[in-house]
Subunit: 123 residues, 2 copies
Amino acid sequence: MEKKSRESTGFLIKQRAFLKLYIITNIENGRWYGLQLLDELRKEFKPLGFEPQHSEVYRALHELEDEEEILTKVRIKVEGAKRKEVIVYKIKDSEKAKAYKKLVKIDIDRSEQLLRKALGENF
Amino acid sequence: MEKKSRESTGFLIKQRAFLKLYIITNIENGRWYGLQLLDELRKEFKPLGFEPQHSEVYRALHELEDEEEILTKVRIKVEGAKRKEVIVYKIKDSEKAKAYKKLVKIDIDRSEQLLRKALGENF
DNA sequence: AGATGAACAGCATGTTCATTT
DNA sequence: AAATGAACATGCTGTTCATCT
């Protein structure tokens, strides 16, 4: 049986891509693990009413590793009262990272134009 | 059985609300029927890569009539090679229309801030 | 409890079908 | 065919559950 896929009508950028962009940028500036990224992103966006879910962050990380092949993970042992091991991500292919961010930028620019157009034409 | 509804994490504005805003504004400036609005909206947004679906426009119209109670419809007979009757909408409650648009504006402003923030922090 | 991952479920919306003129 | 509407299907993502330390 063929799986029939859906067309996008091209409305606004999807949450997944938006999160991937932030995740890449954060990891470009240091190593991070999943829940750490979640906390950071929530803190960043909470003032704007956006509080992403932990599963979305993990899904983004998994796809950046397996599909986009931009990240790799390393298991790190941690001393302290928390978990003994944590999965830290780092950039695997910075060219791919750069290319991916470029694509996302185009989509964000486009999305912003849609919103600006609406603000200009309806108010 | 209780139907358990989902929380929104507050990412970007939904297509439905975005279309409702344009539909209200168009109808404030004259009478329109469904497919006519669809054509107009597609023409407007196509340059930005967005081509809404006819069913979304109808769903928006139905909700603006039945849930928001902002519009009413009138059946109009049309002379010509097309359909004999067409369902034209007009504003029923302009105060509610105004209030609804105000809410949508807040959500668009918020969405735009999210996108601008991303543009500023990742590039 | 903190961290990760996956299964499950609901919702927004895309696709297709039916009906009427 | 133009117009409307509804049923059906799918993908995104929120919720819940499981496992490990």
